[in-house]
């Protein structure tokens, strides 16, 4: 029982990441009709916003400490962050430790800028082009983006710990009278954060005029255009929002697993599967599929399950995708006629 509860928590946590990435991806699919292979790269850029901020806060000057030696036997050069000069060592330490939450604020303008320039500069010209061309250009872009990141930050994962207040784990068991159910704080934060972002996006699309027009545009772009509404500008904004969602998902993900330059590619395939299983053109479908696949993946990695079906943990996502697509022609909640040709 405890094991199952823990795996549900794990599933929700994995699902949060899948859902957030898939949400942005399906927004771009649904509104712009673009197959965006660079979406994983947006997630990765978000994560590296956190890394960049951490680096910025750590900008330091060298102070030579004669009492210690470095590996060559020269006096050790100790890096002292400028922050420490300005605010004192303790305050600086605290600020640096809180760099990941601070990166949320830092990343939003960056992601919006990245999103807008990507859409205006490149994607816009591919609305009318075949999906194959979109795949080629966005895949090329994804490679270029990740190579740029690699050139600056290297290929190794970079540790970006959560603030000390969130590094421990929470004893769920004590709460409900069971033993051994503890769960890391930051993963719970991630889930809560995902919920807030998802709710925000839905509310935005549901309750604002802007969202209404975008939804109308998703359903029938031409008619909306004929009504004299500048749908293009709104689509740019939608792209920026999608980029932002992916980027924030990336920022918040960094304390869970150290970011590296190819993390976007690692998530790319799975997020496409999530979107399609959810059904093309359906935002709730993408979110639902994200959580369903996350939870199933967590269950499939339980020892009891692997003992029965060896290797199931390796293939569960794809197996579920096949079953869903064969039993429900348009995924869980897909609309007819979207990306079916």
């Amino acid at each position: 029982m405890e094991a199952i509860i823990l795996q549900i928590l794990n599933g929700l946590d994995k699902g949060s990441a899948y859902a957030l990435i898939a949400l942005g991806l399906t927004l771009i699919f649904g509104t712009l009709g673009v197959v965006n292979f660079a979406h994983g790269a947006l997630f990765m850029i978000g994560a590296f916003c956190a890394v960049t901020l951490q680096r910025l806060l750590n900008l330091s000057h060298e102070v030579i400490d004669d009492t210690k030696k470095d590996f060559l036997g020269n006096p050790l050069k100790v890096d002292v962050p400028y922050l420490a000069d300005w605010f004192g060592a303790d305050a600086a330490q605290t600020i640096i430790q809180w760099s990941v939450p601070l990166a949320i604020l830092f990343s939003i303008p960056i992601m919006i800028l990245v999103g807008i320039s990507m859409e205006r500069g490149l994607i816009k010209h591919f609305y009318k082009r075949p999906h194959a061309d979109q795949i080629l250009v966005t895949f090329g872009l994804a490679i270029v983006l990740q190579e740029i990141i690699k050139a600056f930050f290297g290929a190794n994962p970079i540790p970006t710990p959560a603030p000390p207040a969130f590094t421990g784990s929470f004893d769920f068991g004590a709460l409900i009278g069971m033993e051994n159910i503890i769960y890391p704080y930051w993963r719970m934060v991630y889930f809560a954060f995902a919920m807030v972002v998802i709710a925000g996006v839905f509310a935005f699309l549901q309750f604002t005029t802007f969202g209404m027009v975008v939804r109308a545009g998703m359903a029938d772009r031409e008619t909306v255009g004929m009504l004299g509404i500048n749908i293009d500008r709104r689509f740019t904004i939608m792209f920026a929002i999608a980029a932002c969602v992916a980027g924030l998902a990336g920022v918040m993900y960094t304390p869970i697993n150290s970011p590296n330059y190819h993390m976007g590619m690692d998530f790319l395939v799975i997020s496409f599967v999530v979107v399609v299983v959810g059904g093309m053109g359906s935002l709730p479908g993408a979110v639902l599929a994200g959580f369903v696949l996350g939870i199933l993946e967590a269950f499939a990695s339980m020892n009891e399950v692997i003992d029965i079906v060896p290797g199931i943990n390796q293939i569960i996502i794809y197996l579920v995708a096949i079953i869903v697509l064969l039993t429900r022609p348009r995924g869980l909640m897909g609309r007819k006629g979207v990306m079916e040709e």
Binding site: E2, L6, Q7, A155, P157, P159, S169, I182
Partner: protein
Amino acid sequence: MSKSDLTRRGVLRAGAAGLATPTIFSGAVWAASHSGFTNAPEGGSVTLGFNVPQTGPYADEGADELRAYELAVEHLNGGGDGGMIPTFSSKTLDGTGILGKKVEYVTGDTQTKSDAARASAKSMIEKDGAIMITGGSSSGVAVAVQGLCQEAGVIFMAGLTHSNDTTGKDRKANGFRHFFNGYMSGAALAPVLANAYGTDRKAYHLTADYTWGWTQQESIQASTEALGWSTVQNVLTPLAATDFSSYIAPVLQTDADVLVLNHYGGNMVNSLTNAVQFGLKDKIVNGKQFEIVVPLYSRLMARGAGANVKGIFGSTNWHWSLPDEGSQAFTRSFGTKYGFPPSQAAHTCYTQTLLYADAVNRAGSFNPCAVAEALEGFEFDGLGNGPTLYRAEDHQCFKDVLVVKGKENPTSEFDLLEIVEITPVSQVTYPPDHPMFGGAEASLGSCNPGA
């Protein structure tokens, strides 16, 4: 015009190609034959092929290997401060290249994929006339390239490869490994673990689901069980996994009090980070402190895991803080050139290059069979690992193994590990027909000079 089973550009460039294969394997005979093997060097230079991962998750490790190779070439050609050449027990290297020929090199990208690695190695052999291939950062690639070199008739000096198979069931006459292996990690770690954590421990293994992971896990399990530990469970995790939470969480439900992470690279960084997130480091089970063990450590990975490595035991092939003369010389030489200390991958690659060059000098020929003969059973010292033997039966180096621990108070981003114990070579030696190494069936085959 001539016909051959393999391209021998060097030979052909010079015109005639001798096809005589010597039948008596003695130094004098080798010395007399400078042709009759793949890519026999002609003219004043010899080309080595450095095949390292330049893209993909191990790109940084590959970059460090490449730095070491460039340094080794510089030293062989008489540049720089000579690095470990002065400390090396064999004195044939004098800064005039190899056998008086200037050392040149070509580089390639393995992408950490067997196919790409073989393609790259082939292009070095077919296009650039490389006489020796070296490098790599994973066992799958090492085994694949070693097989290719055996077929093509050039020497393969393995880089970082830790699987028992490389010199076990997949050993090849043309392939040599300086790096240690899973068995040695187990044999060196187990006594230290038993000493630190007691002999009554229950271990839970998470193992990367591919050949390296399996051989490593098998080795650790065998050595720890021999000292009284029990193994609660071994769970195989997909190589592609990025989040290990669903494999870590079940550990909480068992009575295991040690977690062994048979992971490497990004897998290790993530599984260790996740394990610490779940509070395993602070957990008390059966009245004992819960412990995590990472059998194969690398400094680059330790850096990726950040503060999570503190206090965690593992093993490593070499560490720059070793006090011996050779290690110091190498660290100084590398650090002066690049500004930071070398990794164990860099060390093994540098050493392999020197060992190859020295073997050629001693054999008096570049012929792979002569070189192999010179390396087989070769005993040397002064290359950072103490007295070392290149065993003839399986082409594995036998030397002391370092047991290390994540440092509590690192002074820099390179100073992450501290040496806990240097396990003597006698403790990690095994017979060549050990069942974990392919048993009696495993054989090197016969050396192939190509041509």
